[in-house]
């Protein structure tokens, strides 16, 4: 029921649609669903029919069903085999084979969420749970029941998936919570049990308390206070009798362990201290969670802050640029930027973008990537054909904002090159190294992204020192011919360029008509002057 309902609800989401039934990832759950129903139906029939009739029916249904199943399976296999990825989407394929995305689909690999996580990120995200989970697993094994084996399977799969992609840390979180809950509960059980067993004060009056009564018997017999120390001093008394009894006691305990778990008594002080420590651990975990939620997950990555001697310094450049776009451009102007900023531009600047964070159209993203990695003229032609008015680039070189477009640029090249083969990644690398200093390749230094980012950058400090790449830029003085700067934010983090209108065309045309009459060399000349004809 839930499978059907869930699938129906999921397919109501426009992006999902029929993918919920059409892709191979969901086959497993459907198969289980069908299998359970078949079994339930068989039992139902078994109840209705007599033994003989049932056998006949089974043979009938089995033979017909087998044939039908074979046919369906054959059709399915044929359908699945016809698609190159066997009906699996790139994201789930890269779950099964972590190297898949980086080999075939750079757009998936380019997203930072799809990278495998680092150890610190585990510790950052689940903190003490990272240590409690192994304890929880051991606790699950102690009596291995159906439920605990399910939990173990759950944690194992989720650990695997979270190891493939950072974003699947979300899958790990509930499993880790459950297991550390089990671990904590077991630990509390042991500690509180041993405390209760040894605390005399509680049990003196209450006789009904279920767990305490085992110790109550002790107390009612000899009113002496029996703490561990007393026991130990008793042990040290050189009495043969006692020793014997003790041995006997120990042997008894050896026979009993599965039943009398409560007899696993820890020293009182030790258990009190460990209880306190556990509570402290939990408290610190809460503190950590609040901190992580506040700093890592709530701080909007759109407003950056830095703490300086003068206090808090706010870098609000993104919103500055988006506000400028929304107020000072025409409503139907289109903005081209790398897709990371697509949703932001749509939401905050209220302008149409060419590509956005819904990355389903790989070709479109590749087109923008190609434009960014092409020389100015070719890029202008691509953007003009897309009816783009403004180009937005994010540049962190002035203030040292590391996740800017220059650092993302190689992905643009890769994604662009995946669709348009004339963009080749080695052209942008010098001996396999990505660099923007004087050693960089001419392709790199002439591509649109480089030019838009570093346009007039050298005039800020006279050298053009990029604070992110920690180097001087390679090409310092250049002019833009097809783009003009229309806005740059306060810290230069967002730079907006406008495509220059194709105003040369009219002049070129008139010249052409003139030169057509006169000579052919003239038309060649006009062709040169008019690059986009």
């Amino acid at each position: 029921m839930q499978v059907v309902l869930g699938t129906l609800l999921a397919s109501l989401v426009p992006v999902v649609g029929f993918n919920a039934v059409m892709t191979s990832e969901h086959f497993a759950s459907f198969l289980v669903f069908i299998f359970i129903h078949v079994v339930a139906f068989a039992y139902y029939i078994k109840g209705l029919l007599s033994q003989k009739m049932f056998k006949v029916a089974v043979t009938l249904v089995a033979s017909v069903g087998m044939v039908l199943c074979c046919a369906v399976v054959a059709v399915l296999i044929a359908m699945v085999a016809s698609s190159p990825t066997k009906g699996w989407s790139g994201r789930s394929l890269s779950l099964l084979d972590p190297t898949y995305a980086s080999k075939y689909i750079p757009i998936i690999a380019s997203v930072s969420e799809h990278q495998p996580p680092t150890w610190p990120s585990y510790f950052m995200d689940i903190n003490v749970l990272a240590f409690l989970v192994p304890a929880g697993i051991t606790a699950c094994f102690l009596p291995l029941s159906d439920a605990s084996s399910f939990v173990i399977l759950y944690i194992v799969t989720s650990v695997y998936f979270s190891g493939v992609m950072v974003r699947l840390m979300l899958v790990l979180a509930p499993a880790a919570c459950i297991l550390s809950g089990i671990a904590l509960s077991e630990a509390f059980d042991v500690f509180t049990g041993s405390i209760k067993f040894q605390l005399p004060g509680i049990s003196r009056n209450s006789q009904i308390d279920v767990r305490d009564t085992s110790s109550a018997g002790v107390v009612t017999q000899d009113d002496g206070v029996k703490t561990d120390k007393n026991e130990e001093s008793l042990k040290e008394r050189p009495s043969k009798k006692n020793k014997k009894k003790e041995r006997e006691n120990a042997e008894k305990a050896l026979i009993k362990p599965p039943l009398e778990k409560r007899l696993l008594v820890l020293p009182l002080e030790a258990s009190v201290i460990s209880l306190l420590l556990l509570v402290l651990l939990g408290a610190f975990y809460v503190v950590h969670c609040v901190w992580a939620a506040a700093e890592a997950y709530s701080a909007p990555s759109i407003v950056l802050t830095s703490h300086t001697n003068n206090g808090l310094h706010v870098f609000d450049d993104f919103r500055e640029a988006y506000a400028w776009l929304s107020h000072n451009t025409e409503v139907d102007d289109k903005v081209a930027s790398w897709w990371d900023y697509g949703y932001q531009t749509t939401a905050m600047a209220n302008r149409t973008v060419i590509v956005d964070n819904n990355t389903w159209n790989n070709t479109h993203i590749a087109t923008v990537g190609t434009a960014m990695s092409s020389p100015e003229k070719a890029a202008w032609e691509i953007f003009h054909s897309l009816d783009v008015k403004y180009v937005l680039v994010v540049f962190g070189g002035l203030v040292g904002y590391p996740s800017d477009d220059i650092n993302k640029f190689l992905w643009m090249v890769r994604i662009g090159g995946g669709v348009f083969p004339h963009i080749k990644e080695p052209d942008y690398l010098r001996d396999g190294q990505y660099r923007i200093d004087s050693q960089a390749t001419p392709t790199m230094l002439n591509c649109l992204m480089y030019k838009l980012c570093y346009y007039r950058f050298v005039e800020t400090d006279g050298q053009g020192f990029d604070r992110v790449r920690k180097t001087e830029i390679g090409k310092k003085h250049f002019k833009l011919t097809h783009f003009e700067e229309v806005f740059t934010t306060h810290h230069w983090m967002v730079r907006l360029y406008k495509l220059k209108p194709p105003k040369n065309r009219i002049r070129g045309k008139t010249k052409k008509s003139k030169t057509k009459a006169s000579s052919t060399t003239g038309s060649k000349g006009s062709g040169k002057r008019n690059p986009w004809q």
Binding site: I208, Q221, D222, E246, E248, I255, A323, E459, T488
Partner: protein, 610 residues
């Protein structure tokens, strides 16, 4: 520029044929034009003299239509009292009139004098006219590096239906100018350009002049400003102002280079403005400054006991033609602005916007009164459009009455107080809290009723009876389980006493423990009997009964074995036999006990599940 001149020429031609109007004459006219900001203020001092015989009670002021449509504010005042007595200025009522036989393309305003001007008397009138949009940027488009120049046109002579005997004109500007129309008696000195004095000019004299000057003042124009003043009788007046701002000066053309702007902001970006200062009332609190994408972090607030200054900086520097929109909000203490007299409350608050030198093309002031206000009336010192709306807010039943005032072309001179009078019953304050309280009360009452009511349709149906019986059975089974658990606890005590015995060797204590356990076990079995009988009698318990009986039997067996073990061990201790021997004798019993206990545990679980 050429068009402007042509206009003026036509106008002056038309004026040539106009007749003289009345017996008044202006013996002296002094005009001072202030061009230092983007709001043009013309202050004219007129000395009016009645040269005729009849007393005159009104003075006409004429403005060419091109100017008149930009008049934002016009007042005339006269100074009462002669030299020695304290002079106080009294403002005079002004209204638009359309006198007959006047040349076209002129707009007339008539100033009514307090008392008629009889023959030979004279009077000094101070007329302040404020114009917006009269400084035209010229050129209309400039690059980032250029300074902003504006053109201003006026008449060198005072345009009046009366004969003017002596007049002069002083134009004050910021210090730099490109050119001005040179007439006789015109000269420029420092930050002033002077025309005149001219003597004995006939009525409707007109001589167009154009002054082309540098003006880098912020041309902040709010195309629309919506001020919402919401009164809460709980003690707060919340003011929210939505600005739609544009730089009304020369539009920027070409590139905007942040580099140039940052390197030399006063040269490359002279025409832009960076910030605006709003002067808020001294006790304003909870001030915020935001736009549709969130808080704008570039603002500053400081103040003292007389005022609070809020310096706001738009997200980006405002160049010519650039727009922005933002919202300012603040709360004010109610007692500073709301007063009460004879059952009528009145709000007394400023009309215009708190930012200085902003021209507002369309100002909408909404006063949201609390729900239940009656008899609303507004008094504004100048003409406004006015209507009423209702606003539905949280917990409102009929909506709050809203007085909307609209005025176009608002200049800082309009920053005057206006009053909204209304009646309001203090009991209405309690309406919303009472509504909440009663709502929650009703909710809880409903819950209580729901829990306590039996919603079964038929009390005699078999299903209902079965359910009742089943509940009973469950209760009895629970009782049985409780008793069994207590038995098990006693078993535990027995075991503990044995362990104690092994440690201390105190046989007597062990025996007494045994005794007490015996007696309590007997009591428990007594308790158990009636419960079991009850269970057997119930028809619903058929399913569960065998299990329960089995449980009881097993428990009893367990009990016996334990007793046996106990007595054996105690026996051994009494005989002081060796540990090994005890062990041997107990081992078999122990095994049975273990098995039994396991079974009892299983049974308990099964019954629990049922």
């Amino acid at each position: 520029m050429r068009e402007i001149r042509l206009d003026l020429l036509l106008l002056s031609l038309a004026l040539l044929f106009a007749p003289a109007f009345s017996d008044l004459l202006l013996s002296k006219v002094d005009r001072r034009i202030d061009l230092t900001s983007h709001v043009v203020r013309i202050t004219s001092t007129l000395k009016v003299e009645n040269a005729g015989t009849d007393p005159v009670s009104e003075v006409l002021l004429a403005f060419p239509d091109t100017q008149a449509k930009n008049i934002a504010y016009l007042t005339a005042s006269t100074i009462e009292g002669k030299g020695k007595t304290k002079s106080s200025s009294v403002s005079l009522p002004i209204q638009v009139v359309h006198p007959d036989g006047m040349p076209p393309s002129l707009t007339w305003h008539s100033v009514s004098l307090l008392k008629g001007l009889s023959k030979g008397e004279s009077l000094t009138l101070d007329v302040l006219a404020v114009f917006t949009h009269t400084l035209r940027p010229f050129p209309e488009k400039i690059t980032q590096a250029e300074i902003q120049r504006v053109a201003f046109q006026e008449s060198a002579y005072y345009l009046s239906p009366y004969v003017v005997k002596v007049q002069s004109l002083t134009v004050k500007h910021s210090g730099q100018f490109e050119s001005y129309t040179k007439l006789e008696n015109s000269r420029a000195s420092g930050s002033e350009i002077k025309y005149g004095p001219y003597e004995n000019l006939p009525s409707f004299s007109f001589s167009p002049i154009v002054i082309h000057l540098v003006n880098n003042q912020p041309f902040a124009v709010a195309q629309e400003l919506v001020r919402e003043i919401e009164i809460s009788h709980w003690g707060n007046v919340q003011v929210t102002e939505h600005y739609n701002l544009i730089h009304g000066g020369a539009h920027i053309t070409g590139e905007f280079s942040r580099l140039d702007y940052q390197a030399r902001p006063h040269v490359r970006g002279a025409s832009a403005f960076r910030n605006l200062v709003a002067k808020l009332p001294p006790r304003a609190h909870s001030i915020y400054y935001r736009d549709e994408i969130g808080n704008i972090s570039t603002s500053n607030l400081w103040g003292d006991s007389t005022k609070k200054l809020l310096e706001i900086e738009p997200r980006y520097p405002m160049f010519g033609g650039w727009r922005t929109s933002f919202t300012i909000g603040y709360g004010l203490p109610l007692q500073d602005f709301l007063f009460q007299s004879r059952g009528i409350r009145f709000l007394n608050i400023t009309f215009g916007c708190p930012i200085n030198e902003v021209v507002i093309e369309n100002l909408i002031v909404k006063v949201v009164l609390p729900e239940g206000s009656r008899d609303i009336s507004v008094s504004v010192p100048f003409a406004v459009k006015q209507w009423e709306e209702t606003k539905i807010s949280h917990l409102d039943m009929v909506g709050r009455p809203v007085v909307v005032l609209e005025k176009t072309n608002v200049v800082p001179e309009h920053n005057q107080h206006f009053q909204v009078n209304y009646k309001f019953n203090n009991l209405s304050l309690l309406r919303e809290p009472l509504m909440l309280i009663s709502g929650f009360f009703l909710l809880f009452v409903a819950c209580v009723i729901y829990v306590h009511s039996d919603l079964t349709i038929s009390k005699s149906s078999t299903a209902y009876l079965a359910k009742l019986q089943w509940d009973e059975v469950q209760a009895t089974v629970q009782q049985v389980l409780n008793i069994i658990n207590r038995c098990l606890t006693i078993h535990g005590k027995l075991e503990a006493s044995l362990r104690d015995l092994s440690r201390t060797g105190d046989v007597q204590a062990c025996k007494s423990a045994r005794k007490s356990a015996d007696s309590s076990l007997k009591e428990l079995s007594k308790e158990l009997r009636p419960v079991l009988i009850l269970l057997q009698s119930s028809s619903q318990a058929v399913q569960i009964l065998p299990k329960v009986e089995e449980l009881v039997a097993k428990e009893r067996e367990l009990q016996e074995k334990l007793m046996l073990k106990h007595s054996t061990v105690v026996d051994c201790y009494e005989k002081k036999s060796g540990g090994r021997e005890v062990e041997n004798r107990v081992a078999s019993i122990q095994q049975k006990i273990t098995a039994l206990r396991q079974e009892v545990d299983d049974l308990l679980e099964i019954i629990d599940e049922i």
